[in-house]
C-alpha cells in the first residue's frame, strides 16, 4: 500500500535505535531479526472481504492498495502443489487469495474499499532488505544534458577520487589489458591469463591456448527489471528452489539478482518511506574480476582464474569455508547451506533421518527440468555465476570441430549467448570476446556511459555497466535538474554532518512477494 495510507492506518514503525543526532530511527518495515514481519489487513467492499499482509511500497499513489493475484490457489494441480504433499493426498495452496474482489463488473480495480488491521502478523519473504543505495556510487545515472556536457559523467564517486587502478597503463586497449593484465597501480605484477601452466599436460600444446577473453556489459538504461534473467539463470544452471523458510533466513540461491534501489534525493534514508521516488534496477551476477578478491582467500584452490578470464568454481574441491563469499564485495556467491538439491523444503533439517531423495514424481518433472550440462551441487559447496561456462565450452568445442586442421578455432561473436542474455527481452546484456574490438560487447564497453562497480577496489571486473539516462524535461512542473540518485550521492560526498545512519532504517521493500 502507499506510505500515506500506511501512516493513516497507524502502522507506526517501531522505534529502533537512537542515531547519532539523537533522532529516533524507525524500523520502517517492521524488521524483526532481519525478517519482514508484516501486519495483516482486511479489505472489505460490497460485503466481500479479503485479507493479506501489508507491504508499504514507496511511490505507490496515495491511498492506494495494490493486490497481487495468483496466490492462494486451492487446487494447484501438479505444478502448484508440492510433489510429496500431492502424492500424500493433500492439496494445499500458498499465500493469500484476493480473487474474490475480481468480478465481471470490476475486472481491474475497486473503489470505496474499507481497510482495517486484523492484529495478526506474518513474515513476508523479501530478498532485499534495504531499499536505499545510501548515496554510494553503485548505480550511476545521468541525463542527456549530462552526457552532452561531460561524456565521462559516469566516472563518479570514489572511482573519481581514488587513484586510477590502471595508472600509467590506463591508455592500453581493452584487448591488451585483458590479455596482459598490466600491473597498473597494483602492489605486484599480475600473471598473464594466457600463460600455460608449467605442467606436463600442457607441453607442446601452448598454441592451443585460446586467447579469447570473455566479458559482459549490462545496460542499465534498457533494463526494465522484468526478472527474466533470474529465471533463465535458474533454469539453465540447476539452481535449487530453497523454499520460503530458507528465503526468510536469507539463503536464496539465485546467481544473478536484480537489485532494486529507490532514490528519494535526500541525503540519508530518513525516517519516512519515500512517497515519490525514482527506481533503478541493477542486475548483479559474478563480475568475474580479473584480480578477484574471492580467489585469494580460498585456502583450497577451489576458485581460481582460467586463461579466458573466467573466475571458475571447482565444486568438487570446495570445502566450504565461505571466505570467498565474505570477501566478494558484490556478494554474488551463494552457499549450499543445506541439502537443497537432495531434499524437499520441510525436510532440510532432518539430517540422516530425513527422506534421502525428493519423493519420486511419476512424471519425473523436477529431473526433466535439470540441465544435464551443469553439475548439481551438494551441500557445503559454494556456487556462483559461471558466465554459463557450459555454453562457452560447447561453443568452443563446436568451433574446434568446425575448424578441423585449420587452427581457426576462435568462437565467432554471437555464437555464445549466456542464459541471462538470451532471455533478456530488452537486450540489456551483451556477452562476448573483449579482445575483439568489433564484438558487440566491446562496443558496449567502449560507450562513454560504461563503468564498473566498485572498481576502486582494484577488482577489475569483466562485467561492466552502462549508466542509466533519465529524461529530465525541464519544461515539466517540478522538474529535476539531476536524477535523485545523484542528489543523494552529492549529499554524501559533501560530507554534510549528521548523516551516515541510513542503515539504521533497514527499511525493506521487496517486489510483490505476497506469500
Amino acid at each position: 500500500m502507499s506510505p500515506k495510507l500506511a501512516a493513516k492506518l497507524a502502522i507506526e514503525p517501531e522505534a529502533m535505535v537512537i542515531n547519532k543526532i539523537g533522532a529516533l530511527n524507525r524500523n520502517i518495515n517492521q524488521l524483526v531479526d532481519g525478517r519482514l514481519i508484516a501486519k495483516i489487513a482486511r479489505l472489505t467492499v460490497d460485503g466481500v472481504s479479503v485479507t493479506g499482509p501489508v507491504f508499504i511500497m514507496p511511490g505507490l499513489a496515495d491511498h492506494t492498495v495494490g493486490l497481487q493475484l495468483g496466490f492462494g490457489r486451492k487446487l494447484g494441480g501438479r505444478v502448484a502443489t508440492r510433489v510429496d504433499e500431492r502424492l500424500a493426498g493433500r492439496v494445499t495452496g500458498n499465500g493469500f487469495d484476493v480473487y474474490p474482489f475480481l468480478t465481471t463488473a470490476h475486472p481491474a480495480f475497486r473503489t470505496g474499499v474499507t481497510i482495517e488491521l486484523t492484529g495478526g502478523t506474518t513474515p513476508v519473504c523479501n530478498m532485499q532488505d534495504h531499499w536505499s543505495m545510501e548515496g554510494r556510487d553503485v548505480v550511476r545515472e545521468g541525463s542527456a544534458e549530462d552526457l552532452q556536457k561531460n561524456a565521462d559523467f559516469a566516472k563518479l564517486g570514489i572511482d573519481g577520487h581514488a587513484p586510477a587502478v590502471y595508472g600509467k597503463d590506463g591508455a592500453m586497449s581493452p584487448a591488451l589489458k585483458a590479455t596482459t593484465t598490466p600491473r597498473g597501480n597494483s602492489a605486484y605484477e599480475h600473471p598473464d591469463h594466457t600463460v600455460a601452466p608449467n605442467v606436463a599436460a600442457w607441453k607442446g600444446h601452448e598454441s592451443e591456448l585460446k586467447i579469447q577473453q570473455w566479458g559482459m556489459s549490462i545496460d542499465l538504461n534498457t533494463c526494465t527489471g522484468c526478472n527474466a534473467c533470474v529465471t533463465a539463470c535458474q533454469s539453465e544452471n540447476n539452481i535449487p528452489v530453497v523454499g520460503r523458510q530458507q528465503v526468510l533466513k536469507g539463503r536464496n540461491m539465485h546467481w544473478i539478482r536484480l537489485d532494486r534501489y529507490f532514490f528519494d534525493g535526500r541525503e540519508q534514508a530518513g525516517n519516512a518511506i519515500p512517497e515519490d521516488p525514482q527506481v533503478t534496477f541493477m542486475g548483479v551476477a559474478c563480475q568475474h574480476c580479473e584480480t578477484a578478491p574471492c580467489e585469494t582467500v580460498c585456502p583450497a584452490n577451489a576458485t581460481v582464474h582460467d586463461d579466458q578470464g573466467l573466475n571458475t568454481m571447482a565444486y568438487n574441491r570446495c570445502i566450504g569455508t565461505r571466505y570467498c563469499a565474505n570477501n566478494c564485495p558484490y556478494k554474488v556467491r551463494r552457499f549450499n547451506f543445506l541439502d537443497f538439491n537432495k531434499r524437499v523444503d520441510g525436510h532440510y533439517y532432518e539430517g540422516p533421518l530425513g527422506p534421502e531423495k525428493a519423493v519420486k514424481d511419476p512424471a519425473d518433472l523436477p529431473q526433466l527440468q535439470r540441465n544435464p550440462d551443469v553439475s548439481v551441487r551438494m551441500r557445503g559447496v559454494m556456487e556462483k555465476c559461471t558466465y554459463c561456462v557450459q555454453r562457452i565450452q560447447e561453443a568452443k568445442i563446436q568451433a574446434k570441430a568446425a575448424a578441423r586442421d585449420s587452427g581457426r578455432t576462435q568462437v565467432a561473436d554471437g555464437a555464445i549467448q549466456v542464459a541471462c542474455q538470451q532471455a533478456c527481452p530488452a537486450g540489456a546484456i551483451e556477452f562476448g570476446d573483449i579482445t575483439d574490438p568489433n564484438s558487440r560487447v566491446s562496443k558496449a564497453k567502449a560507450s562513454t556511459r560504461s563503468y564498473g562497480a566498485l572498481t576502486y577496489l582494484n577488482t577489475r571486473p569483466r562485467t561492466t555497466y552502462q549508466a542509466k539516462l533519465r529524461n529530465l524535461n525541464d519544461k515539466m512542473p517540478g522538474a529535476l535538474r539531476l536524477p535523485l540518485s545523484r542528489r543523494e550521492m552529492a549529499g554524501r560526498e559533501s560530507h554534510a554532518p549528521a548523516h551516515g545512519s541510513g542503515h539504521a532504517a533497514p527499511a525493506a521493500h521487496g517486489e510483490s512477494a505476497h506469500k
Partner: protein
Amino acid sequence: MNERNERIHGVACTFRKPSDVYHAAEKVRDAGWKQWDVHTPFPIHGMDQAMGLPRSPVPRLTLLGGVTGFVAGCLLTWYTNAFDYPLVVGGKPFWSVIYPFPVLYECTILFAAFGTFFGQFIFNRLPRHHHPLFDHPQFARVSDDTFMIVLEATDPNFHVDESRNFLQSLGGQEITIVRD
C-alpha cells in the same frame, strides 16, 4: 649381597642448603673432577660455572631446526603454488617471499622448537628409565628439598675411601656409596 662383587657407581653426599652445595661444587671442580654431578631440586643460579661446565649445546640444534624449517617452508610453498600446479589466483604472483611469509615463519619456529625439544633429550641422554641412582635411598629426596653431590667411579680421581673423606671435607652429610 656380597659387597665385594657389586659394582660401585660412585659416592654421594647430601646438603641442606644451596649455598653449601654451591661452595662444595666449586671445590670439586677445583680438585679436577670430571665425572660427577650435582643433583638439586631446582637449577641453582651459577651452578654451571661452579661445576666448570661449558655452555649447553642445545642452541646448535635449535639453529639447525630453524634454518631447516625456513627452507622447507620455502620449498613447500614454491613447489606447490609455483611449480607443480601454478594457478592464477586473484592475479597474485605464483611465488614471492611475501605471501607465504606466515607459513615460512611458522615452519621456522616449529622446526626450531623440535630442534630444541629433541636437542634437550639428546644432550641429556634421555629417556633413560633405569639408573643406579633411582635405587639409591637418599635420591628420592633430591626432587624435594635435598641437594646431592655424586662422584662417579669412572673418574680417574675416584677411590672409594678417599672420595668419601673428600666429601666429608666438603661438609656433606649422609655420605653413602651408590651401587649399580
